[in-house]
């Protein structure tokens, strides 16, 4: 953002601002964009979810406020603002007040590293991915604060569930992303997107592939397993069905949100939908190329001439618009999948959730980590690193070998794990049944 402003103000307009003023302006702009975009996404998501679920249930959904009910989320927001804010008498008032803030702040901060289009990232951190997940886990503290401060047993149960679930599912989520980080060799989100150029095969792995912006990680065995594992973990992180255990409405009313009303409840709601948006966005970015798509790279390249290395403004804007379109399309598609699951599936129980995370997802992602290392070894290492097998192989052959080996490992581990996991589930069930029958007779 700073470079763009500097070029515009001091370059094109020639105003000659000092550096601190440019810095200040760029910070203010970034913060404004982040703070406006986050609630807008949340508003759209609530409407989108309600309409899609209504279609699944043979209903119409919100259709009264404005054309096709498009202003319904605004009306809901107004309702949230004007509602009475009730704090239980026995609650810890300070912590009760702070909890929603602690939950919302990290989710908004996470927007800082999300790239929307080519060159359209608020802050391009070299450790963007690390920042993203480090910040997201802070909200678990807020959930525990909410549950404890409300002095309500449902809240406490919900908070315990939420923290247990978020902490357990962060491990497979991060492990599956580390596989990608190994392949790319960078934690920067922009680098990860830049890697995914090409057509089915990334042209970083196999130079010479035409760049259509389709060299997504999901087309590789490593990326595919990581994607599945990450998306499942993201459902748990975002407390979406079938892992919406912390706020299971049919069991513990609303979990940690039970004692919240008015805008404090609204903040929890906001945090949740913003987090869902971000998880969908990061899935799209890491595994589906983010803003990469047919035409973006080409448009971007059109403006670049030897005398104009940063590109022509018009082509940059066109590429940006197309990139944002692709990015939002992918993100909304993943959110659609989340809504679809919510409309179709019941909820898992907390112990089944833990079982699945620790006994299935974590071993799978660990094996995938190994595959990722092999992928790098096959496609990039030479005799200097001790990779003597591939000496003299052509890039295509090396890529094929990497593909086949990682596919075999991942598929084998998956099949083995499903058998072991299913067997452990059946054994557990049988043990439970025997115990019960023994207790009954």
């Amino acid at each position: 953002m700073y470079d763009m402003l500097a070029a515009l103000i001091n370059g094109t307009l020639g105003w000659g601002w000092p550096e601190w003023a440019l810095n200040l302006l760029s910070y203010i702009l970034v913060v404004t964009i982040v703070l406006v975009v986050a609630p807008l996404q949340m508003l759209f998501f609530t409407y989108y979810e309600r309409r899609v679920i209504a279609r699944m249930q043979d209903r119409v959904g919100p259709n009264r406020v404005g054309p096709e009910g498009i202003w319904q989320p605004i009306a809901d927001g107004v309702k949230m603002f004007t509602k009475e804010d009730i704090v239980p008498q026995a609650a810890d008032r300070i912590v009760h007040f702070l909890a929603p803030c602690v939950v919302v702040a990290p989710t908004v901060l996470m927007f800082a590293v999300v790239p929307w289009g080519p060159g359209m990232v608020p802050v391009d951190l070299p450790t963007g991915l690390l920042f993203f997940f480090a910040i997201s886990s802070i909200s678990a503290v807020g959930l525990m604060m909410a549950g404890w401060a409300s002095n309500n047993k449902f809240s406490l149960l919900g908070a315990m569930r939420a923290v247990a679930q978020m902490v357990s599912y962060e491990i497979p989520a991060v492990l599956s992303l580390i596989a990608i980080v190994i392949v790319v060799g960078s934690l920067s989100i922009n680098d990860i997107i830049a890697y995914q150029t090409g057509l089915i095969v990334s042209n970083r792995d196999l130079p010479g592939i035409p760049d259509l912006g389709l060299g997504w990680f999901v087309f590789t065995p490593v990326g595919f397993v990581a994607f599945i594992a990450f998306f499942i973990a993201a459902l748990a992180e975002g407390e979406r069905t079938p892992f919406d255990i912390p706020e299971a409405d049919s069991e513990i009313v609303a979990g940690y949100m039970t004692e919240y009303s008015g805008m404090k409840f609204g903040l929890f709601y906001l945090a949740q939908y913003v987090l869902n948006f971000l998880l969908c966005a990061i899935t799209a970015i890491i595994f589906f190329g983010g803003w990469q798509g047919p035409g973006v790279g080409w448009l971007y390249a059109q403006g670049i001439t030897p005398e104009n290395p940063n590109g022509n403004g018009l082509f940059n804007v066109l590429a940006g618009v197309l990139g944002v379109f692709y990015f939002l399309l992918k993100t909304y598609l993943f959110f659609f999948v989340m809504v679809w699951l919510r409309g179709a599936l019941p909820r898992l129980r907390i112990d089944q959730l833990m079982d699945f995370g620790w006994k299935f997802l974590i071993p799978l992602t660990l094996a995938n980590l190994f595959s990722a290392a092999l992928w790098v070894a096959f496609t990039r290492w030479g005799p200097a690193e001790g990779m003597l097998i591939t000496v003299g192989w052509s890039p295509v052959l090396r890529w094929l070998a990497a593909f086949v080996v990682t596919l075999a490992i991942n598929l084998g581990v998956y099949l083995w794990l499903t058998r072991v996991y299913a067997a452990s589930q059946a054994e557990r069930r049988r043990a439970e049944l025997e115990e019960l029958i023994a207790a009954g007779s």
Binding site: D58, M160, I245, D249, S250, R347, Q425
Partner: protein
């Protein structure tokens, strides 16, 4: 210093999934249920006492409000009790119409019970919408016959209030054509869903001897493997003329109760088809013309029981020779099926409580009366 403490949680009386105003005082150790105490009475409306101040016919619409899902079945049991007390004959055709209505009630009750149960497991209302879909068509049929969808008040002493309208039978046949596919779909909803299977199999086991000692009846008892059905054990009305099976479960868990309900819907459809075959030959009209509605039964008492969708529904009436019952007692299946809840829930997780409660299929209007 680490210290653990058991937690007492009040689930209800205002709770999203207690099926009305029902309260469970649950003692939990983390997520595991140690003890559970069902508390009810929040919906007590003095039903039995009010009934003793009304004339016999005035009570008929009151019985609708007991188990508001199955008003036809309630009507049937009450009408039978009064007919036994006053010695009123029921014509054959009326009996067939009664059986038809009660079996339709069974289908709609089981469909929505299954839908509600899956809702309690946390599905976001889509399975419930599935369960409610065919229920609407059955309610349309009820509306044609009785003029009301839920509180039908259709039965009278000696028959039913009016004959089936001419468009009823074609509509019913159309419904029967759609029904098998619908029931299969409902069954696939559970059998093909791994999460649902995990949540249902081995949960809330009710051993047969425990079920018997509590006097449980209906699908809950049959889910535990005891083939007891009042329609077979003590055939009333014209049930001895039909060919149908009594499905039973093996283990007595939530899954078995679900499967029993699904199978009962199929059996009800079989009964309805046989009713449609035999109805044209049935003698008599829709009501016994000699039956007085303002009955004044002789001194005595009578008990009539039927297999209502939720279990054995009985009405006990004592007459002192006046136009009002001296004593009016309802044996409500929901109430009696609810009593072993604590035994079924102990040792399971908090999330299982609501599923077990959903699998018992209670209606608080009947529990509290």
């Amino acid at each position: 210093m680490l210290q653990t403490q058991e937690l007492q949680v009040n689930i209800g009386p205002q709770h999203p999934s207690t099926h009305g105003v029902f309260r469970m005082l649950v003692t939990v150790d983390g997520e595991t249920v140690i003890d559970l105490k069902p508390v009810f009475g929040y919906l007590h409306r003095n039903h039995e006492q009010i009934a003793e101040a009304n004339s016999y016919l005035q009570n008929m619409p009151y019985t609708d409000r007991l188990d508001y899902f199955n008003s036809m079945a309630n009507n049937h049991a009450y009408a039978m009790a009064v007919e036994r007390l006053a010695g009123i004959e029921v014509p054959e055709r009326a009996e067939y119409i009664r059986v038809l209505m009660v079996e339709l009630t069974r289908i709609l009750n089981h469909a929505s019970a299954v839908g509600f149960m899956i809702n309690d497991m946390g599905a976001w209302q889509t399975p419930l919408a599935f369960g409610m879909r065919e229920r609407e068509k059955i309610l349309d049929l009820f509306e044609m016959a009785s003029g009301a969808r839920l509180m039908c008040n259709y039965f009278r002493f000696g028959g039913v209030v009016r004959d089936l309208p001419p468009e009823f039978i074609p509509n019913l046949r159309e419904l029967l054509r759609a029904l098998p596919a619908y029931i299969d779909e409902l069954e696939r909803l559970l059998r093909d869903n791994e999460i649902l299977l995990q949540r249902a199999i081995g949960i809330g086991i009710l051993p047969p001897e425990v079920a018997l000692s509590y006097g449980v009846s209906g699908p809950v008892l049959r889910g535990s493997g005891i083939p007891y059905d009042v329609r077979k054990a003590e055939p009333y009305s014209v049930y001895d003329r039909f060919d149908f099976d009594v499905p039973v479960g093996k283990v007595g868990d939530v899954y078995d109760r679900f499967l029993v309900r699904i199978e009962e819907m199929r059996q009800s459809k079989r009964i309805i088809e046989q009713v449609l075959e035999q109805l044209p030959d049935a003698k008599g009209g829709h009501i016994n013309p000699k039956a007085r509605q303002n009955v004044r039964p002789p001194v005595g008492d009578a008990y009539a029981r039927i297999e209502s969708p939720k279990g054995e529904l009985g009405f006990y009436l004592v007459s002192d020779g006046s136009t009002r019952p001296y004593r009016y007692k309802v044996r409500a299946p929901s109430f009696i099926n609810l009593t072993p809840l604590a035994d079924m829930c102990r040792g399971y997780k908090v999330a299982d409580i609501v599923v077990i409660l959903g699998s018992i299929d209670i209606v608080m209007g009947e529990v509290d009366r």
